[in-house]
Symmetry: C2
């Protein structure tokens, strides 16, 4: 045996799909972990590190440094499996996000939040639609119409990453403060609206005719009503003992829930919108009694967030080709998109909050929180890419926009803390004193 | 829109790999769950139901009843992903099995167990090798030699399903009895020997030349020594706080462990034996201090046993074609294999235990426990199939053998309980009274 044949033998081993998957998994989880740690030192949420990790492993860095290595680790034949795994991960993730949505709290605080959330959707939405008119001719994907493209760009401007927001609030100990709970409810109501519009856009993009789109939307509406008003009240009974206080769910319950989530995902998938809507809905209708949701979260979230979500980020990264923004023009458009997204979302939420009586600093903090786009934006963007609405170039721009707006949130919050501290210390200028008389979110009792 | 085009639209949706995967997941998890419940009513461990579920979903039942439906749900293009997912499941499962192996206890009880476990490997092994001489000409796979085939049939006769055994003991409340702990240690030492021989067989089957086989085995031995004596003592330090009493491991730890498991799996994979050996080894060297292993088990086992292992059973079932045993001859050989496996394993363990001073009834119970082959046998059989050692026909026979010997264990244990109860009631005949004077396993204090 000579070293050549040993090498040939090794190389043959590397061709095995399982071997390749192991290499991909190790690399992806490792890089995601390292980047997560790095950004944690900069007081950024781990999700930013994972987003960056995905981009580093894609053509933007790895492929730029050593293209053959990228092709070796992520050959196109392996992308199918990677996509499937990451989609399962996203569905499980959306299920957990759905479980975090407390419909009861949403109803309670609806009046406070509904205005802020709706304006903070409508404003960036309109700005997005307006800019899409300029961008359509050069940046639209191959299979789209101006209407769908405009609606989609609008959506991508107005998304708030509900789970990332929740994590930022938790890391800063703000979850139970009035600012925190207002932000959560705003983001949640916003999420529901945004996903509904997105479902509409997807149905329109996928359907071959208007009749199909109508059929698709009609069946989705029926399905949502069925889930919320017929299945949700009956689920605790079906799931039995496990959902009650003190009940210990066994493996059978995990299996039943898994079947339920997949079935719901399959239903929305077959109706012509994406499977992730169904998983999200399955999470929303999960029984909230006892420690049932916590039980499921522990078992599903850890696995999906450690194994499968990094795959999703990597998969997104493989599509993100920063090299495509190779001219000043491209970068200018990208900067423009970041600016429009921020003005629309942060500005819209801030001004509306101020108009409802919240002081300037808290309004600003609320706006900064609503501007977080994170993972949820990436999910939407991948949908747009898959449906041929987005070209690779604008996909890349929007990924950078998502990253930039998510990165902004931490520093902007710190800045608002600084402003608040300055005011408390009495160094506030005369002009702001008048605002201080308005009851701030921080002073109102937690409802 | 007419109903034809609606149907065409739906059918197109079904072609999507994600849609297909959802349908497969729902069906597999559902049927596994139903069968698991059904056999639980017959006081059989759930794993038997899952094994049966896999066979039902394969060509043996579903394909026999409605072949187009089988081809629709499991088209050959979807098998690659299914295989990868089930392999990941098996690796995670073997990791958990490795964690259950308590090396300390193994050393302590080694003297009691080593004889029983080795004889209960060697006897069925020799019987298997002997019968393989008869079977080789008609039933060997396309890419094998008599030596490899004989060694492999030997192995498949002598495997004990360590995890199934542990579950049966737990369900019957025997885990902490002397019978239970002897059985566990016997199965564990047996497992180590059986997997070592299997690794050898795989290396021989895969290597193109003797030099490659030697290189492969040499590097595996080096790797095992490295893991046990260099990495194992250092792991608690590397993993840090989390492995100590009262430490709460975060997501970072799960990620590190995941990387460790995949890296170890990749290492053994590249050395020319299967990835599952590496995952098993990774489990064995996990720090046992604190609640660290329990923490990992909770997060990994639930997911892998609910989602991924049923996929493995289904994948095995898709390869099991009971229709291939379409003649009396085939069924006779299959019965013969069940007989030889049982005589070798149950008989060998029973006689050796009796010779070491255990009474007949407990020796019989121990033998019955060692005869459980369950999931571990299926893993080995799939390896043999993949490597071209087994033809589809003998693969089917051995799957049935695994199922039959696993099903036997429960009733045989109940039978031994009955015998024991009869003796305690004083209704034993004269001949057995003499045996009663030997200290039984049940009477010895728990070491």
């Amino acid at each position: 045996m000579n070293s050549m044949s040993l090498f040939a033998n090794l190389q043959e081993n590397f061709q095995d799909p399982l071997t390749r998957l192991f290499i991909q998994l190790i690399l992806i989880v490792l890089v995601a972990r390292l980047c997560g740690r790095l950004v944690a030192k900069l007081h950024q949420p781990a999700v930013i590190g994972e987003m960056i990790a995905g981009i580093l492993l894609g053509p933007s860095l790895l492929g730029w440094v050593c293209r053959p290595l990228l092709d070796f680790i992520f050959p196109s034949s392996s992308l199918g499996t990677l996509r499937l795994l990451s989609q399962i991960g996203v569905c499980l993730f959306m299920f957990v996000v759905g479980m975090e949505l407390d419909v009861g709290q949403l109803k309670q605080q609806a009046r406070t939040a509904v205005l802020v959330s709706q304006v903070s959707i409508v404003l960036p939405y309109l700005l997005g639609v307006a800019s899409s008119l300029v961008l359509f001719s050069t940046l639209a994907g191959p299979h789209t119409t101006l209407l769908v493209f405009a609606l989609f760009i609008g959506i991508s401007m107005s998304i708030t990453a509900f789970p990332v927001l929740a994590r930022i609030l938790e890391e800063r100990g703000l979850t139970r403060t009035p600012l925190g709970s207002t932000a959560i409810v705003c983001a949640a109501t916003g999420d529901v609206s945004a996903w509904s519009i997105l479902a509409l856009v997807v149905a329109m993009a996928k359907a071959k005719s208007l009749a199909f789109a109508a059929l698709s939307i009609g069946s989705v509406v029926l399905f949502v009503l069925l889930m919320l008003f017929w299945i949700k009240p009956r689920l605790p009974f079906w799931m039995g003992q496990a959902t009650h206080e003190g009940g210990v769910p066994g493996k059978g319950v995990t299996a039943s829930v898994a079947i339920f989530v997949f079935a719901s995902a399959l239903a929305t998938d077959l109706m012509g919108i994406h499977a992730l809507f169904g998983s999200f809905l399955a999470g929303v209708v999960m029984p909230a009694r006892g420690e049932f949701r916590e039980f499921l979260r522990l078992r599903l979230e850890n696995f999906s967030s450690v194994f499968l979500l990094p795959l999703f980020f990597a998969f997104t990264g493989l599509r993100t080709q920063i090299g495509l923004l190779n001219d000043t023009n491209g970068w200018l458009i990208c900067l423009g998109l970041i600016f429009i997204a921020t003005v629309g979302k942060l500005g819209g939420a801030m001004i509306t909050a101020r108009l409802t009586g919240v002081d300037w600093i808290d309004s600003f903090a609320l706006g900064a929180l609503m501007n977080t786009r994170g993972l949820v934006e990436l999910i939407a963007l991948n949908l747009g890419y898959d449906l041929g609405i987005l070209s690779p170039r604008i996909f890349t721009m929007l990924v950078i926009m998502a990253l930039a707006t998510t990165c902004m949130t931490g520093p902007l919050l710190t800045f608002s803390d600084y402003l608040r501290a300055r005011r408390v210390l009495g160094s506030k200028p005369q002009g702001e004193a008048a605002l201080g008389t308005t009851p701030t979110i921080h002073q109102r009792p937690n409802p």
